[in-house]
Every structure is written in C-alpha cells, then in structure tokens.
Symmetry: D2
Subunit: 338 residues, 4 copies
C-alpha cells in the first residue's frame, strides 16, 4: 500500500499517518518529493481494508494498493498449473475437458438421451441441473434430489462424470453424494456461505464467474474455497453483463489469458451462457480453446424446442457432434488434445 | 408473447408453430401482413420460458414478450402504494424513513455511539452488519450472533428499530429473532434459497438491488419473497456496476421513478454504497429524496478512519446531522416529512 | 507517477529504470522496502504517456499515475467556480439555468410554439437541433442553416438565448454566427478536431459527456477546448451506457458532486436523454438540482407524438410548466433560485 | 413495427392509432386478443423513428420494432460475403488479412523498421497513425502529413499496403491520397460527417466499432458509408467498455459470429486495443481467427518501451513473428490460410 500525501502536507499530518500505519502493524517508509511526500507501507496488505480508511486522515490524497488481493489462487504462491483430478480425468492438463448436457434434468429419457449424445461426441463430463436458480419464481425450479438420481443413473449407463449445481449451503452434502464435480453458478459467485461449504467438501468445484464480478473479485471469491483446504477449483468464464443486447451476455474472452497469467487454477469457458444463442456457440467454443482454455461446458438438449429452460442456447446432438469435430484441429493448433 | 415469422414463411411452418403454441396452453392468433405473419399467443406468459424456445422452430424469426415478467410486485395487480409497517414506523408513507449506522457492528461502544448519533440526528432505524459478506476471505467477517445482541442492546437504549443483514437461509430465524427488518444484500439478490426463507419469515425485508441486476430481474427476485406470502418488502437502489471508476458504483437514480412506476413496493436509496465516498453521500441523499425515494440507508461511524470496513464511505456523526438538516427542505419540496 | 518494482528486482534493473526516468525529464526518487523498491518520478506527468511504457522494462511490476490527468479544468488550478456569462445570463451562479426546446427544429410554427412555452414556463435558453447526428442514415438529419435561421427568429420573438449543436469542425463558424451557446453532443465527446475548433470560437460551449466516457476522460476532453483559450465551457451529464434497458441511458447522478469536486466548470444535467422517457424526466430534473447541478437541458415539443425525433422523451408544454413549478422549492432547498 | 395496446383500450383509441399509422404511410393490421389488441404496421419501418412516438398516444402500451434497422449492410439485402479488394489483396476471402504496425508514425527509422518486421513476419498491410485522436491534449498528436509521407515511403520500400486513420472530414482527401485503406477509429464511430465523407471517397474503409456502440448501432453507422456508394467497408471489433479493469477494454468476441450472421461485410479484430496489454495479444489473436474473423490489426513497435503512444500494448517484432507462426495452424483449423 502506498499513501500519497497532498501537495505540501505539513509535517504533523505526515507524522500522524505514520503513527496510524504503525498502529495497524505496518512499517511506514517515507519518500519525500519536492511537493509531495509518499509513504510506503511495508507488510502484507491483503485483508486489511483498514489501511484504505487512512484516506480519511487530514493531508492524505489517496491510498494505492500494490499487491494483488488474493494469495492462494495466485501464480506467485504456486507457479505451476493446478491439475484437478476427477477419477481418471485430469482437468488443466494437455487434454481438454469437455462438459456437456442439458440446462435442467427433466426426465430419465431426456437425461439418458443427452448423456448418450455427450459420450458419442467424445466429451467426458455430463452436466445437468437438478437445483435450478431461476430468474422468475414461476419458472421450472428443477427436479431436486430426483434429478440427482437421474444423473447418477446416466453416469452408470455411460461412464461419464457428473457435474451439477448446488445453490445453498445445506445442499452441499447431498449434491456431493451424487456429483463428481460441484458447480457453483454465476448468481452465487459471492455467496460466501456456499463457497465456504464447498471449500469443506471433498469434491472438485466448478466455480463460475459472476456476471458483474471483476477478475480480481473472482479470484478473491475462489480464495474462499481454497482457504478451506479445497484446491480442486475449476474456474469458468461464462459471460459478463454489458450494454450489448445482441447476445445474452458478453463472453469475456480476455479473461482466459488474464486468468492463465494470474492464477494456477484451470480455466474453462461456457459458450452457451456466454452468447445465449445456439448459433453462436460453435464459433465461441473454438475461440475459447484457441485462447488457451482448458475445456468447455456446453448446453445440449435432445429437443431444444421443448426444453424446460435455456432451449434457445442449447445445441442439438448432431450440432454438438459437429462442434467436437471442429474443435479437434483447433486443439491441435494450440498443442492440446481432446 | 408475439411470434414473428420470417418473411414468406410457408403455411406448414405457421401451422406447426400454432400447434406448439396450443400445446403449451396458449391460444394462437394470426395476423397476416403482406410478407410476414405475426402470431399472438393469448394467455399468461409469465414463468413460461418454454414459449421463448419456439424461436427454434423453422420459419420463426423472433419471439417477443409483451407482459412484464412479474405479477405480485406490479402496479397492475396492486395499484396503490404498499406501506410497510415496523411497529409504529410506516415505510412508504408521507414520512421518509431514514436508516443509518455503521457498516459492521464492531463493539458495544461503537454501536452505542453510532445509535445515539443516529437518534440525535432524527433517523429512526439503526443499521449494522453482524454477518458480513466480504469480498476477501481475509477481511473481517462480522461478530455474528454477538453482533446481533449488541444491536438489540442499542435498540433497548435508543428505541431505534434495527435492520441487519442475513446471508444464508439457515440464519434467517436467528436474525429474525433480533432484527426488526431483515436485510438481503446486493450479492444475494439472486440467492433464491435465501429469498424464499425470507418470504417465509414474519419480518419485513429490506431487499437491495444486485449490482448487475436489471430492474425487471430485480422485481422478479422480489417476487420470490412476495410469492411466499411476505408482502413487507422494501426495495433499495444501491448502485450498479458500470465502467465509471470515479465512484465505487454508479447509483442508478433513474431506478427511483422507474420502480415507482412499475411497483407498489416502497423504494429507498443507499447513497453510501452508491457512491463509495463519504464526500458525495449528502448530495446523492438529497437527490434520492428529490427523485421520490421513500427513505435512505446511510453508513455512519463514530470514527470512520478506524472502521473495520467501509470507512471511506462512512459519515461522521456531525456530517450525518448536517445531512439530515439539509434533507428537511428537500423533503418538504416534494411533499414529504422527515 | 510511481514505479513499483517486482519483489527482489536486482540493482541493475532499478538503475536502468532510473536512467530511463531521467531520460524522459523526470527525477527518480527511490524508496526501498524489504522486498520491493518503489521509484517516485518527480515532475509533471500529464501528457507523458511514455512514462507508462516503462512498465515494459525488466523488473517493473506496475506504473501508477498519481496526478489527475487534466490541468486547466481542475480545481487545483482554479479553485473558485467558473461562471459562464451569456449576455445577461450567468451559468454557474446562484440562479439555475434552465434550457429547453425540441430535439430538432422542424418548422417555424413548431420552434416558435416551443419557444413561447419555454419562456412562459420561466426558462431562459431555447434548445433545438439544426444539424442532427442520427443513429440511422435514413432518419431526419435536420434543417441545417434553415434551422439556424428559425432559431434566430425564435430568439428575436422571445428574447431567449439559443443553444444548438455543431457536428463538424467546418460548421463551427456558421453555427457560432447564429447561436449564443455552441453544443457539442455526446457522440462527439472525443471528436478532438471539433473540440479544438470550438476552443477557438468566441462562444460558450455546452459540452456533453460521452455515453462511455469516464469522468477523467471527460475532463481531459474539455481540456482540449480550454487549452485553445476558451474557458466558457458548461459540462452536461446526459446518461451513460450500462446494462439497464428500462431507461434509454443511465443518468449518472454521481457525476454531479464528483464534477463539482474536481472542476470549477458549471455542470448541468439532461434528464431527457438520461432517461429516454418523458414520464421520468420531472423526477430526475428535481434530483439533478438537489444533487447540486447548475441547471438543466430538457426536451419539450408542442406535439411530442408528431416529433420527427425523440418524441418519446419530450415533454408537452404543460408538463414542462409543471416541472418548473416543482423545481422552485427544490432549488430553494439547496440555496438556489430559478 | 408492432403496436401493443393497453389491456381493454377502448375502440376510439384503437381507431386513433390506426389513423396515425396510416398518416405515417403504413398500413395498420389489427389482431384482437381477449384483453389486448395488437396493431401490426405494414411497411418499411427503418428510418421512421416517428412510428416510435406513437407510444405517446392514449391507450398504447408499447411500440416494438421488428425489422433490423439497417439495410445495405444486411445479409438480407446481400446474402453473399463481400470481399474488399485492395490492389492484389482480397479481404474477406479464404486468406486472412493481417495488418500490423506502430500506433503512431514517429520517424522514418521507426516506421521502416516496423514495416520490415511486418513484411518479414508475413503480414500484408502496414498500420501507423499520422493523425492521432488522443485522450489528453498534452499527448503527442501525430506527425500529420509528414507521417503520411513516411508511410508512403515504407510502402515503396516494402510493397505493403497502408492503412491509416482519418479524424476529420476535411482530411479525407489528403489521407486518401496516401493511404490504401482509410481507417475510422472507435471515437469517431458516430462522427457521421466523417462517415459520409469516407462514403464519398474511392478508398476502402477500415471502420472500427465504438467502445459503447451496440452491434445494431454499429451496422447503422456503417450504413452511412454504404449509403454514399462505398461498399468497401471492413468492420473491426476492438473491445467495448465494461466494468472489467484487468484489461483496457473487453474484446467482444461474440461480435465476430454475430456480425458474420447479420452482415456480408468482412470483420477483423484488433487484439491490441481489445486487451491493452501485449502479453494477452497473441492468445486473443488466435481466438479471433478461431471465431471466424477475416483478419487482424495488431500494434507492433521496434522498441515498445520508447513508443510515443500505446507502448504497453505493442508487440516486439520477434513476438509478432511468433504470433504469426502460431496463427498458421489455427487458420488451417478453420479452413483459412494466412
């Protein structure tokens, strides 16, 4: 943290700031310019928002943070990439991890048909929501535990791993009983109670970025999971809120190289929510892999026009199979396999 | 819902769309132009996202919703303004409701000093966080139940009502035991499990807008609380995420007249989070009342420069007292009292 | 500018950065922490983006600007508020300046009827576009010089001052021949060639904020006008682009106190573009004055439903008269007259 | 355009709306539901914002546009892709077009060194700014005509085509004398006077998206150029303004497939401005090609740390050469060459 004093701030103000800095457990270090004095605060500033409040002292112009506000998620603490293992799958390694499936689990027939399509196309993880956070209380809210059972049944039949969303702390154990990977959705990105419980679980967590979360805030939120001892966190860019309405969200493709630079955690991309329309999904899936993503999560549905949710952004099985075919050479072009 | 067919879509495609519309329980109504046919879907479209999926049928150009997606919160259903009663307080009536207090409850001394300042300045509700959703896991997370007890003590001493945040479904009963008003924060705006539990509680809910929530989504989220039978919901505009960084958030002042137009629920404004800096709070507080807000929630602290959280945006007691003095003529100018 | 070196950056990297800093005409000032060295660059950094490029040197972690990037517009350079005089009008003083009129000048009848309504309601400046920057090339583009003549005629008849938009550098002299105040619109906020020409003109400039311009960029753009010797600049907040679609733009009410803090230039607000719908204009007009704005610019039209542009956001004369009545007590509440 | 009447709007209101619709040259077409009447307006609504004003008539709930607001740029009017020819180059065909060069032309030595690096790496167009729109009036504003001459000299030496920015209408002829492609920058996206002049020029136009321009507005702005008879327009996504600050802008990768769907014009991507930092440029360049872009425009500089502008986002020649190597297999993966 650097404290910039106002031009010509008197000595007693500088001295008072230094006293406060020391009172918070930091060492002040003065650098005097011709008109301005700058006070460096030596010590670890993370989790110390009280330093920021020094901005209120007389003579202080601004307080400028220097360090990134996250630790465990950072490349500084762990330079080598994390590989999250889910049974025989490795997420974050050379082989891309493709997750696919319907938005919601609707019926045995639907989830089995989806699972077969996912496996045939060459993907390895089945997605499907049993607990659905829906914008409207009048919309379908998911089959809940019945949905989890159907997912387990689909795993039995196809051998796919299962990823499914958990929406409240009390459900974590239940969902963890069925799922191979717990999913925390965009709307719960800063639901810290849920994150802590996922941190205590012994399952990998697919942790989506919030629609208005900066990358720094996202990594601080991930830190809630890591801080509980669970390092198996897979990040997922899924689109942010912007003024553009031609697509449902704006997929932040920049987040892929930025996250790869800042954190060791694997990063996947959700082109379905990121665009909101099936006809843009394949192009964005290719872009995500070319940008360096470790995988994808894609919505598919055997009959999108009958889907209980997100039909417009769901791929039909044959379109998904074509997407997988198109991904192969792109993956190879960036030194990955699929 | 209106379905716009593509130019020159053949009859069989139109017929198929009509069949599907009927299958979903709506009545189709055709309007044939020279080149385009438009199909009106007669029936209540709310909570029927499956209608949207008809966009995927051959020959369909777009599906355009017509109704607002919320019901119970709408002026159509209840034209007269809701007044939320908290003991002898009435929120949404002629008299403005001013809530103030520190971001976090830190100690008995701090919360009592805050409460005295709040009462002396003429406000009627004390705010203070016992459970704190913090961006960083390394930041102060609140005193939890101990904080609730201190709030209750401050109520005892001052006679103020208490509003405090609840961050997870399981805490609702505990917080409701102490608080007069439950607060749901911006980060939990779409934490639907929490909203449902607040809907079941017998306490008024101060429900903040999310930082990336559109007004329509916000009212749908409020609908989760109303749908459980709890109509005592107070809305709160607290700033949205935009590209502007001179302030912490961008307070959406437009939301005040828009909400007053769309919903019967009372609307208050949080100028502290909405600006992020104490020196802008008074001007924005005046603006909120002039725009037609039913009240304010303001952060104050006896010693902002020592606050454990949000010090930069907290007012000192004398600045808050001055804010209250300035509000009086503004309130009178719009036909309100304080 | 402060240069933060990476942890444990070797001495030769520090020395090289210092050499570069000197080469750019600044004096480096070292502050050595335990792990990090910080280099203050003493000198005026404004207009020196090359300093920023030092971020590319080995061992540099980040380059942090300290000064605000504008000078002439800043309170530091001119602490007292600027009052822009337009004949007998003073903009920025105790009396609020209310500008009103149609989006476009459409006919003599329309502009005269508008002008009469503006004057009767008590406003002092007539707005009206002769050169219209329209989103679509197929939309009405304005009457051009004929429109300017009609504005002059309306001034003759009513005694109102005239403000009208100029959209290209070559038109500045022509528009200045007719107008009392030149308007630069949001879409031309960073049309620097136009700004320079307005800077050379001998007329006050009403300079609107761009829809994606930060406040800092806005003041830098204003600086283009000031730097040519024209200090008669009136700033105007008119709404920014955000994700919210319930209103056409999001009026950034925070910009009023922030600009009042940073700059000496008068600040007015455009509630018509800021909301995009006539029914929200009055509430936002009141809010703007309560927040400390020096005036308003409001769209009115004798027959909004027949307007060639922006009808939806235009007030009818009687609604505008009522707005003016409502503003009076609000103005008085903040120590202003109207 | 569809006009939705309020529930139970009386017959005389419906009749009045129909009269107005006819008065504007459209044919009304009624569709009566149980509670609501919907009026379709048959005719071409583009450039008819007056239809929107019918929203103000009694009994009207909303006016919903149906057609895309652009014509000449649309796939409906011209289904096959436009290929822009610049001498022997074809932009929009199988072969990708890579443009590269410094932000600003600074000196003969600098531009020649840049041009050699561009050609050696296999790109075919040299970029370089002679007229620079700079945020601050104190920043380097470009060498102007001297810069154009240096670009022409670089073309002579290397055989590269030249693209350079034009910032005001009066400069179009001058810039067109030197350049092979005129560039209109993001800040001038809605500088309609400039667009019209570029439409009259006989040179291809590289037309960048504005930082707050929706895709629909962008295509309407392009329409200004097309409407003057110049169909040689190359679109360029270069990042939009969002709340994310980890990158300078948020590159909207979705815009690539969306534009490919809506328009026949070629689309390239600017990963340099889109990210704002050289270390993210290569990943985003790969993503752009994988998403279906027809080319790139990349900032390079022989000595980025000495650049007069945009040094932080400029690639060194060897990094650019490596980017080109990495693009080859990505291009092949999507059926393109480089």
């Amino acid at each position: 943290m650097i404290i910039v004093m106002k031009a010509n701030a008197p000595e007693e103000q500088i001295a008072e700031v230094c006293r406060r800095v020391e009172g918070l457990g930091f060492r002040p270090h003065l650098s005097r310019g011709e008109v301005r004095t700058i006070i460096g605060c030596v010590g670890d500033e993370r989790g110390k928002p009280r330093l920021q409040s020094l901005e209120l002292l007389p003579g202080v112009e601004s307080v400028v943070p220097i360090l990134q506000p996250f630790k465990l998620a950072s490349r500084e603490v762990r330079p080598e990439k994390t590989i999250v293992r889910v049974g025989d799958l490795a997420i974050g390694g050379e082989r891309l991890c493709i997750m696919a499936g319907p938005c919601s689990v609707e019926s045995e027939e639907q989830i089995l048909a989806s699972a077969m399509a996912v496996r045939e196309a060459g993907a390895t993880v089945l997605r499907g929501g049993a607990f659905k956070p829906r914008t409207s209380p009048y919309a379908f809210q998911g089959l809940e535990e019945e949905g989890l059972k159907l997912l387990a049944r689909a795993r039995e039949v196809t051998g796919l791993k299962i990823v499914t969303e958990v929406v409240k702390p009390d459900d974590v154990d239940l969902v963890a009983d069925y799922a191979d990977i717990l999913q925390v959705g965009a709307r719960n990105n800063q639901n810290f109670a849920l994150l802590k419980r996922c941190g205590e679980a012994k399952k990998p967590v697919l942790f989506k970025r919030g629609m208005a979360t900066t990358i720094k805030e996202y990594l601080q939120a991930a830190e809630y999971i890591l801080a509980e001892g669970n390092y198996d966190v897979i990040l997922c860019e899924r689109g942010i809120r912007t003024f553009e309405t031609a697509t449902r969200f704006t997929l932040d493709i920049n987040a892929v190289p930025v996250l790869n630079d800042l954190t060791h955690l694997p990063v996947i991309v959700d082109p379905s929510h990121g665009t909101g329309h099936w006809k843009y999904v394949t192009a964005i899936a290719r872009a995500a892999i070319a940008a360096g993503a470790d995988g994808l999560i894609v919505e598919i549905h055997p009959k999108p026009e009958e889907a209980l949710s997100d039909g417009v952004q769901s791929l039909k099985p044959d379109v998904f199979a074509e997407l997988m075919r198109q991904l192969k050479p792109v993956a190879a072009a960036v030194g990955r396999t699929i």
